[in-house]
Amino acid sequence: MTSPLQQKLKINGSSVVTANRTWDGVVVYRTAAKGWSADLADAAIVRNSDEAKTLLAEAVADDVGAIGPYIAPVQVDEAGKILPGNLREQIRRDGVTIDLPV
């Protein structure tokens, strides 16, 4: 698989870096404070490919904390709230779209 560092980065609007926490797999977002948070509200927002590359490289280096980081699109509404930018990120934030058996 192509390393995220080698993929062409196309930033349309706002994006975040997201990954899964190493010890339990929970969805996390890269924060401006060089950490990981499970809350999308804490995610650092990047708006161009240089910013994205830097944030991503930092995330990739921190694989003790989280794995499989990549750039994900978000939408920021008028109130400044960060929302998932596509269906996949919505599912990652909210969970499966179906009822679980239990």
């Binding site: 899964n20 010890w23 797999g25 969805v27 694989d63 996949r88 599912i91 990652r92 058996p101 239990v102």
Partner: protein, 551 residues
């Protein structure tokens, strides 16, 4: 039921201990993810959208009741109380934590269950017919050979870093329930004129982005040569399979690029060097493996017991019996398929409670044995006919008696975008809606045998290429769009489906399937003509017209 001995258990425990050390080195940072990823894959640990996913091996789809109970225990203790049975006879848990995995594996090892090589570029679960050992007309139990291959391919020092994953399937019946024609190696168990056991060997089948039907590389390989012949195929693949592009790395591509004649010459040349080596299987070894398969002490039972005769008055029981109960090779017994496709639910899931209850039912009615089929249903392989009414009542209470086996609502679906990080579109909600549209059992029976397969991306884990109706989810401009094929088959007449037209949106898929079914009902020559045969007879056009007339 194959009984693990001290030797098998030791290996599983050594593996657990190694993985515990690897997880510890990962969590401490001593191993990077790049170094660890292949190691965790070799123990069945994937990363999905929300969490890790843990794929546990169920060798050739056979489970003992205590093993099923332990799977329930893992679901309860380490996951969210349910598991998902897969198209390769394995089980997946979707919410597992990496830090819990060594303990989960240790718990499973207690009952001889492991997760070795359920992922990664190595040799995966050897799958077989879920009716192996009990199907009428079966030549001999293919699971003995599956077990020989399983042992040979487990932690094989030469073939643990192949160009890509490698899947083997084996059947011993005329009707192929193991889909051997779409496997990297497919084995059809046959006898030669002397009555000796051997195999027709097919190679290079597979679905995914470039589907191929397997080609026969050798018409008869004697049983004693099976392992050396497989070794020869693997050695050629290991050396010449592509390593530059993961989408061109399966053996099917190598076979396609070399051509089957050249490929088989390469294999033959290699095989001549090793056929008379220690890889040759002695009769004694085969007998030893065979002796460790425990077969039930069947009673002499009547063909039509009173209990069955009396229960025939109950139309619900009869509907289930006609649908889910199949003939057994021994008089007085049946093979019971347990549908994991209740109307409105995700296909192939079972809760921990259902698993525990099923383990108890297996003890009571099936000599403690359960099977897993690649259509994501389960089976109880040794049920006395007189027990069918009591079993049905119990299954019905558990929601495990939907009489839809092989019907349109018996859908095979991959986890799709709800779970899987490779997916482009969701598959489970599509399956759920389809079961609701065709929930009426009379309608489903009127339609007859019809397999719908749904994949959420072109990796085709739902086997959509070989679905009678195949549904492939793709992404277009941020939306989920579905391409629909018809006429595929996974069995001994394996064929790939044909596209009926442009993709349709999420909300339209169920309508389109209804249109296709309507077209079939109008066009079939007689009620017994199966959907897939009508498609073969008439081609795609009439269905395309019906579907796209108003779209």
């Amino acid at each position: 039921m194959y009984a693990y001995d001290e030797i098998d258990r030791t290996l599983v425990n050594e593996r657990v201990s190694e993985f515990r050390d690897q997880v510890q080195r990962r969590l401490s940072g001593e191993l990077t993810e790049d170094e660890f990823k292949m190691l965790r894959l070799q123990n069945g640990v994937y990363l999905q959208l929300h969490a890790y996913m843990f794929r546990v091996a169920i060798p050739y789809g056979t489970l003992a009741s205590n093993q099923l109970r332990q799977l329930a225990h893992v679901a309860r203790k380490y996951d969210r109380g349910y598991g998902h049975f897969t198209t390769r006879q394995n089980i997946q848990f979707n919410w597992i934590k990496l830090s819990d995995l060594p303990d989960a594996l240790a718990d499973l090892a207690e009952v001889g269950i492991h997760a070795m090589q359920t992922s990664g570029n190595n040799m995966r679960n050897v799958t077989s017919d879920q009716w192996a050992g009990v199907a009428p007309g079966e030549i001999e139990d293919p699971r003995i050979w599956s077990e020989l291959i399983r042992q040979h391919t487990t932690l094989h020092p030469e073939f643990s870093f192949l160009p890509r994953k490698f899947k083997i399937a084996i059947t011993a019946s005329d009707h192929d329930r193991a889909a051997i024609k779409v496997h990297d190696i497919g084995l059809r168990l046959i006898k030669n004129e002397k009555g000796e056991t051997g195999f027709e060997v097919l190679v290079g089948g597979g679905l995914g982005r470039t589907p191929f039907i397997g080609k026969t590389i050798k018409h008869f390989v004697h049983g004693r040569d099976l392992l050396s012949y497989i070794e020869a195929i693997l050695r050629v693949y290991n050396q010449y399979g592509r390593r530059d592009n993961i989408y061109k790395a399966r053996i099917k591509i190598l076979v396609h690029e070399l051509g089957i004649e050249k490929f088989s010459r390469e294999v033959e040349e290699e095989w001549q060097h090793i056929r008379n080596s220690s890889l040759q299987i002695d009769d004694e070894v085969i007998e030893d493996i065979r002796s460790r398969f425990i077969y039930p002490a069947y009673e002499k039972l009547p063909h039509m017991p009173d209990e069955l005769r009396q229960a025939a008055a109950d139309p619900d029981f009869e509907a289930w019996r006609k649908n889910s109960v199949a003939a057994h090779k021994n008089q007085g017994y049946s093979i019971v398929t347990i549908s994991l496709k209740p109307i409105g639910a995700p296909p192939g899931d079972a809760t921990a409670e259902q698993m525990d209850a099923l383990a108890d039912l297996a003890d009571k009615y099936s000599f403690g044995e359960i099977r897993v089929g690649h259509e994501q249903n389960l089976a109880l392989p040794h049920v006395a006919k007189r027990d069918l009414p009591a079993l049905w009542k119990a299954l019905d209470k558990l929601g495990l008696a939907t009489p839809n086996v092989n019907l349109i609502t018996d859908i095979i679906a991959c986890p799709g975008l709800d779970y899987c990080s490779l997916a482009n579109a969701r598959s489970i909600p599509i399956a759920q809606e389809l079961t609701r549209r065709f929930a009426n059992h009379e309608l489903a029976n009127l339609i007859g045998r019809l397999h719908i397969n749904i994949s959420g991306c072109i990796n085709a884990c739902g086997h959509h290429h070989v679905g009678h109706i195949g549904i492939l989810g793709v992404e277009k401009n941020g939306e989920e769009v579905y391409q629909i094929t018809i006429g595929g088959r996974a069995d001994e007449s394996a064929a790939l489906g044909n596209l009926i037209g442009p993709g349709v949106k999420f909300d339209e898929v169920a309508d389109v399937v209804e249109d296709i079914v309507e077209a079939y009902l109008a066009l079939r020559e007689r009620p017994e003509e199966l959907f897939v045969d009508t498609v073969k007879r008439l081609g795609v056009e009439p269905f395309k017209e019906r579907v796209y007339a108003t779209r």
